[in-house]
């Protein structure tokens, strides 16, 4: 585009338009000049700079009112010239500077923004900006003389007014940018000459006069309306700290003498304007600035936009770096801002502020600067003092920022925090605040209600998932960011703080009052996590981490406290409460008298349960939470120690497993999560592996607990959990303790039967699944003992069944039902060993019969199931007994119940009577077959079931009855055929020879009745079977209607 490279050529082109413009000052002419300028290259234009500027300046200087449009185009043209050329003469610079400024002068002075249009303002600002950049070398500095102070002052106020009061964002930002350039802090890409010390000193002197104006206006802007957009706030902050940092620089102020220098300035008026930056001035200015900084920090630290907060970090950094001495009063404020931002939501702000803090820490600004360390400790002191109050009075947002500040100060102080913590009063305050704010909301009823239903969550069975902490709800806050922050606070305390001191203190709180127990446990868990250096980031490494042994010792003592009876066996459900009460035959008053006489902690469990009249839902909920927190604590501890925790499993695993078997869903979930944590930290591949490799510890715990009546339910829970999580490999180790269980059961049939039956059930269920694999090693084992070649697992099953026989007549229905279940499993396990099973069946028989004929229908139902299984396994061994003891009664009840069910409506199928009928009908068929029953019994069964073939019976009973006949067909097809035909005979059977009498069946020619359909169906089925049997032999010579031989 530039076609005119030499000044001569350019002159030739530009001259006419310049002349024209000088003569006639119109927008068109200016634009023409502008157009021609485009064609001239920069070097040539530099030569002609003054020449070209002349007509433009002339236009501006022409007296009289000017059209704005013209002014704008002229200024624009000047800007474009300046942006490619240098101003090499002082005079020109000065003149242009004042001419441009005058463009925006307003008659009303500087109070209000100039009246010109926004375009003009913007252009002028940009031209000024260009001028500042085009000044050549030292020339620029000539602008900064005492003599030019008024000009500068005018420009500064003008720009400040524009920046503050204009509406257009663009003008405001450009004004700020221009001001930045004017104050020699331009941060654009172009080259800027660096000032030497002398020069900056001089400029500093000059700018000091503007400081009040600049700082007040800027702070007003910074704290102003949020709607102005973050860019303006950011620029304002930047300008603020650059200016303040420059004028208040420690380096400059250090060189100021006490006395004011003799005014060497010519004009006294100007001398009056000048500021002497002596100590007094510094002091008073710093005081005023500290107010402004306070305001800025207050508003910016909670500004919504992260860039603003980031700029605040820069502000703090800059001022701390440049003027930490002159602004010492504000340092506390700045640090507070910084530490508060260390935990900002925005990662950039977070990283930058911690970087800044780290650099400050590294430069030993804090540690070596006694004043700063004192400031921080003082902050912490006062924060600790105010914390309890703040935690109750502030809203969530306030808590968040308070805690942020707390966390930041702790991090910054590092190990120096111990000075504060060593003061009992302050530690007390701090812990009190934590106890207050961490108070849990324990009103959720669901937690108490939800029960564990047998099986475990699927996730656990498949693989390891990170044990997730239960979500907690707090009384005094709802914001989800607060709890992680509190955790961080505790971890940092654990990281730097004196671990013994802190653990001691919080253990004290833990045991001091139930009100603090949960919170203290929460804090302790995090302290340990922090002490292990997990889950936190810090500004600087601690000097000495606690040794593994110290950590282990601390954890051991906390664990002891957590799993102490009084803290571990809490009432969490109403059932437990009742059970506990049942066990206490002694009235509470006497008990109390006894315990008071000989106080001991080991019996607090039962006595506490007795003394507490009726636990409310709330207190149970609170107990559940406490257990969960303690369980989570075990998880934290295992992560803190890693594989070193394996030694502690000796005492820690048992309680965890006990809780995994808890009937409260919430607790068992948490405990399961803890087991997963242990697996991860200690390097076990699965929960199963964890259990099988530590079976010895668990078995030890179980066998010792079985010796104490009060602990027996816990032991059975642990064993249940073990069995639930393991396979055959566990059996040899568990065998030992099962003997203990059976022995204990023998000691206490009355009180403990129910809880032990649960274990026996789990045990038998486990045995049923893995007999094949467990067989071999045990075979040898028992062989040595001289036992009649019964494998160990079957021996156990036998032992268990023996107990079951006793318990079959227990007075509690629940126990009886459970026993029947166990018995059934036992039969299955013992099945391959007939010479043990049959005597057992013989012994169990009387009690079983009583269940069958004289018990609650529920028990009858189960007992019948057991009978079916038993029949399946024992076969004809039971034939006689069945037909003598049971069948008459069963048949009788079926017959008597038949009319009832025939008449009943649809609801009947939900009754127990129906279920019983159905079960018996379904079971009778297989029973007949397995027991190989005699003719009389079969007839009896058939006769009884016949009525159930009635179309009036419920569909399911009809089906079941049909199934009985289908089984009977297997046993004796002929008799069944005859019986069915006696009811209804669809065919005639002509005698093959006339000499034979015709076949007469009683069902012949009968009208269609209620039984007809089912009988026909059955006969059809029978026919098909016969045919299927005959077919292969007769080679396709069917004799379809041949009657079976009589």
């Amino acid at each position: 585009m530039a076609v005119f490279d030499t000044p001569q050529e350019a002159f030739g082109v530009l001259r006419p338009v310049c002349v024209q413009l000088t003569k006639v000052q119109t927008v068109e002419n200016v634009e023409r000049l502008q157009a021609q300028l485009q064609k001239v290259n920069a070097a040539a234009l530099q030569e002609l700079q003054e020449y070209v500027l002349f007509p433009l300046r002339f236009t501006l200087k022409t007296p009289g009112p000017k059209r704005e449009r013209l002014v704008q185009s002229v200024v624009e043209c000047i800007r474009s010239i300046l942006s490619v050329t240098c101003v090499k003469k002082q005079d020109l610079l000065h003149e242009l500077f004042s001419e441009l400024c005058t463009c925006l002068s307003s008659p009303s002075g500087l109070k209000r923004p100039p009246p010109q249009s926004e375009e003009v303002k913007l252009t002028v600002i940009q031209a000024l900006q260009a001028l500042m950049h085009s000044a050549y070398g030292d020339i620029l500095l000539s602008l900064y003389q005492p003599s030019t102070l008024p000009h500068l002052g005018f420009a500064v106020s003008l720009l400040l007014a524009l920046a503050e009061q204009e509406k257009a964002k663009e003008i405001r930002t450009s004004a700020l940018k221009c001001l930045q350039a004017l104050l020699l802090h331009c941060d654009c890409q172009e080259y800027h000459r660096l000032l030497d010390k002398e020069e900056s000193q001089r400029c500093g002197d000059l700018f000091a006069s503007f400081l009040p104006g600049i700082s007040i206006t800027l702070s007003r802007m910074i704290t102003g309306d949020i709607k102005q957009g973050h860019m303006i706030t950011v620029s304002a902050i930047k300008l603020f700290y650059q200016t303040v940092g420059f004028i208040m620089a420690d380096e400059q102020l250090r060189r100021f003498p006490e006395k004011k220098e003799k005014p060497r300035v010519e004009q006294s008026r100007i001398a009056d304007l000048m500021v002497h930056r002596g100590p007094d001035w510094v002091q008073s200015t710093a005081d005023k600035l500290s107010l402004l900084i306070h305001k800025i920090v207050e508003s910016s630290s909670v500004h919504q936009h992260w860039k603003v907060r980031l700029e605040l970090v820069e502000l703090a950094h800059h001022l701390m770096l440049k003027s930490s001495q002159s602004l010492v009063a504000s340092v506390g404020q700045l640090l507070k801002a910084l530490v508060g931002l260390v935990n900002d939501d925005s990662p950039k702000v977070r990283s930058r502020s911690s970087e800044v803090l780290r650099s400050i820490a590294e430069q030993k600004v804090i540690t070596e600067n006694r004043a700063l360390a004192d400031v921080l400790s003082e902050n912490l002191h006062s924060l600790a003092t105010a914390l309890p109050r703040l935690m109750t009075s502030q809203d969530d947002q306030g808590k968040l920022s308070t805690l942020n500040v707390l966390l930041g100060s702790l991090k910054l102080l590092g190990s120096k925090m111990n000075i504060v913590l060593n003061s009992t009063a302050h530690l007390h305050r701090l812990s009190k605040a934590l106890m207050q704010v961490l108070e849990l909301d324990v009103t959720d009823v669901k937690i108490v209600e939800e029960r564990r239903q047998g099986e475990l969550p699927a996730s656990l069975q498949h693989g390891l998932q990170k044990g997730q902490a239960q979500k907690k709800y707090f009384r005094f806050f709802t914001d989800e960011r607060i709890f992680p922050l509190l955790q961080q606070v505790c971890r940092v305390l654990g990281y730097y703080g004196n671990l013994y001191l802190l653990v001691d203190h919080f253990m004290g709180l833990y045991s001091e009052s139930v009100a603090f127990r949960k919170q203290a446990a929460l804090v302790l868990n995090e302290l340990i996590t922090g002490a292990a250096g997990l889950g936190l980031d810090v500004l600087h490494e601690r000097e000495a981490a606690p040794s593994m042994d110290d950590l282990k010792g601390t954890i051991t003592s906390i664990l002891e406290e957590y799993t102490d009876q009084a803290n571990w066996h809490l009432v969490t459900s109403t059932e437990e409460q009742e059970e506990a009460n049942d066990k206490l035959a002694i009235p509470p008053s006497r008990l109390r008298a006894l315990t008071e006489g000989a106080h001991s902690s080991s019996h607090v469990l039962s006595s506490a349960a007795a003394l507490e009249p009726n636990p409310t839902i709330r207190s149970m909920n609170s107990n559940i939470w406490q257990l969960c927190i303690q369980l989570e604590g075990v998880g934290c501890f295992t992560h803190a120690l890693g594989k070193e925790f394996r030694v502690l499993l000796m005492s820690a695993l048992y309680p965890v497993l006990e809780k995994a078997g808890d009937s409260t869903l919430f607790i068992s979930q948490t405990a399961t999560g803890t087991m997963v944590d242990i697996c991860q930290a200690c390097g076990y591949g699965s929960v199963q592996q964890l259990i099988s490799e530590n079976t010895d510890y668990l078995v030890n715990g179980i066998s010792l607990s079985l010796r104490r009546v009060a602990h027996q339910p816990h032991a059975s829970r642990v064993l249940e959990t073990m069995l639930r999580h393991s396979d055959a490999s566990l059996f040899p180790l568990v065998k030992d303790v099962i003997q203990d269980v059976l022995f204990t059961l023998d000691q206490s049939y009355d009180s403990q039967a129910a809880s032990f039956l649960r274990v026996l059930h789990s045990l038998m269920a486990a045995l049923e699944v893995f007999p094949a694999t467990a067989e071999e090693p045990q075979g040898n084992d028992t062989g040595a003992e001289g036992e009649a070649s019964l494998p160990a697992h079957a021996q156990v099953a036998k032992d268990v069944m023996e107990r079951c026989i006793h318990l079959l007549s227990d007075k509690s229905l629940r126990v009886r039902l459970k026993v029947l279940d166990v018995l059934e499993l036992g039969v299955t396990v013992l099945h391959p060993h007939d010479n043990h099973l049959l005597p057992m069946a013989h012994r169990a028989w009387p009690a079983l019969v009583t269940r069958l004929i004289n018990d609650d229908p529920l028990a009858v139902l189960r007992a019948f199931k057991v009978l079916c299984t038993l029949a399946e396994k024992c076969g004809d061994f039971l034939r006689q007994r069945f037909s003598k003891d049971v069948l008459p009664k069963l048949a009788g009840s079926l017959s008597s119940q038949a009319p009832v069910s025939a008449r009943a409506g649809p609801v009947y199928s939900h009754t127990l009577a129906f279920k019983l009928q159905l079960a018996v009908l379904q079971g009778l068929g297989p029973l007949c077959e397995k027991l190989d029953m005699g003719e009389g019994d079969l007839n009896r069964v058939a006769g009884t079931c016949l009525v159930y073939l009635s179309a009036r019976q419920p569909m399911k009973l009809q089906e079941a009855a049909r199934s009985v006949f289908l089984h009977l067909m297997h046993v004796d097809p002929d008799a069944t055929w005859l019986l069915l035909n006696g009811v209804c005979c669809p065919h005639r059977y002509p005698p093959p020879h006339a000499s034979l009498r015709p076949v007469q069946l009683s069902g012949m020619g009968r009208p269609r009745g209620e039984l007809t359909d089912n009988v026909l169906h059955l006969l059809g089925e029978l026919e098909q079977r016969e045919r299927a049997m005959l077919w292969p032999r007769t080679q396709g010579a069917p004799e379809p209607h041949g009657p079976p031989p009589p």
């Binding site: 035959a585 001991s600 080991s602 010895d696 510890y697 030890n700 104490r708 009546v709 203990d740 009180s751």
Partner: protein
């Protein structure tokens, strides 16, 4: 169902304490009977959680001796029998002998050696409660005596394969470096006495059934053979205890024989000094306190015999203690000579005060005959443990009376 002589016959061991004025010995429930009392210097605990005291009341109501109220107050408030500290499982065979090695300092951990009927010697780490190492050197035949020498670097084990093995355990090794064979087929355990640095005496049953042989280790040279005079009819030696009145003094041997007598032998002369017929049945085990010149022995009868040695080196019965159930398979005096423990055929471990044979506790845990009891050699008395090994394959570890 397990049964034992002791379990079905409900004899109150409480009688040991209160026996002098409690009529109707057989009245206590089994559990409470084992809840032995005594040692009232310890803080008294209430057994509120246990419904059994109530049962006690009922049973006591039958015959009320004078002062019964006082008794039941003690009974209800007395300590429940302590539980084992922990139980070691996994020997997979009856345990016949136990030996602690806990004296060495950190970082070495305390260990316990166990010898069992399957011929294995197991080394238990008492920190993890697990077997660190298993030594198999007796061809599957019962190991019934183990003892360490040179700290824990070397181990002697005596087995039913008629061999005494010397194991090198230093630096993680575990191999038999030497062995002595015996011809005796009895159950008599050896006895070891340290004479000087790297010089020991070992007493063991000799080839001839009624003789005892004393060897010097490690040279294995015979020091003497102790042969009873003809016609003494002692039968086989059953248990041995080497001792010396002071370090460097002439060593003696206490030996219990099949005929129920305990004999003091002078080793340097190879001469019987005294013979005391203190049991009707074979002496199963004995221990001797050389400081008080007093010893104790147990046999298959119901009697624990305490005897003393006077200045003329004559043994005489000091006291006998009647037990409820017969059969003592092991008796050991603790190193501090304050208490002694017995291993009973009635599945129980009994603790007595050594000074007056005051019964202190009956420890009821095992479910079969207890074969051996052993006290640990922890240097700090408060850490001292008692271990008992039983036919039920378990080793129970107890922490008892170690606060004084």
């Amino acid at each position: 169902m397990r049964t034992s002589p002791g379990r079905d016959v409900m004899q109150p061991v409480t009688a040991h304490v209160t026996g002098s004025w409690l009529p109707g010995r057989d009245r206590g429930a089994r559990r409470s009977s084992s809840a032995v009392l005594a040692c009232q210097e310890q803080p008294v605990e209430c057994r509120a959680a246990d419904p059994l005291p109530d049962q006690h009341h009922r049973s006591a109501g039958v015959t009320r001796p004078p002062g019964h109220r006082y008794f039941w107050m003690i009974a209800t408030m007395a300590l429940p029998p302590p539980d084992p500290e922990f139980v070691l499982r996994g020997t997979a065979a009856p345990v016949h002998t136990l030996h602690f090695s806990c004296r060495s300092q950190e970082p070495e951990f305390p260990i316990l050696f166990s010898g069992s009927a399957n011929g294995l010697v197991q080394i238990w780490n008492l920190k993890t409660h697990r077997v660190d190492k298993t030594l198999d050197g007796h061809g599957g035949k019962s190991v019934y005596w183990v003892e360490t020498i040179r700290g824990r670097d070397e181990l002697l084990s005596q087995g039913r394969d008629q061999k005494i093995c010397l194991w090198d355990l230093a630096e993680g090794r575990s191999m038999v470096t030497d062995s002595v064979s015996m011809d005796s087929v009895g159950f008599c355990r050896c006895s070891l006495l340290k004479m000087a640095q790297d010089r020991w005496l070992i007493a063991m049953p000799a080839d001839d059934p009624d003789e005892v042989q004393v060897l010097e280790l490690p040279s294995k040279t015979s020091v003497c053979t102790l042969k009873p005079e003809a016609g003494a009819k002692l039968g086989m030696p059953m248990c041995l205890k080497l001792w010396q009145p002071g370090f460097g003094a002439c060593p003696f041997l206490m030996a219990g024989y099949e005929d129920g007598s305990v004999i003091l032998w002078n080793l340097s002369m190879g001469k019987m000094l005294s013979r005391l017929a203190c049991h009707q049945e074979p002496v199963m085990s004995l221990d001797f306190d050389s400081e008080k010149a007093k010893g104790v022995s147990g046999s298959s009868e119901k009697v624990l015999s305490v005897w003393s040695l006077d200045e003329q080196q004559n043994l005489k019965v000091h006291k006998t203690h009647e037990l409820i159930n017969s059969g003592i398979s092991d008796v050991t005096i603790r190193q501090d000579r304050k208490i002694l423990a017995t291993a009973g055929w009635d599945y129980r471990i009994r603790i007595f005060g050594w000074k007056k044979m005051k019964p202190l506790a009956v420890l009821d845990f095992h479910t079969a005959t207890v074969h051996c009891v052993s006290f640990s050699d922890h240097s700090r008395p408060s850490e001292r443990l008692l271990a008992a090994g039983s036919k039920d394959h378990r080793i129970s570890i107890w922490s008892l009376y170690n606060q004084t």
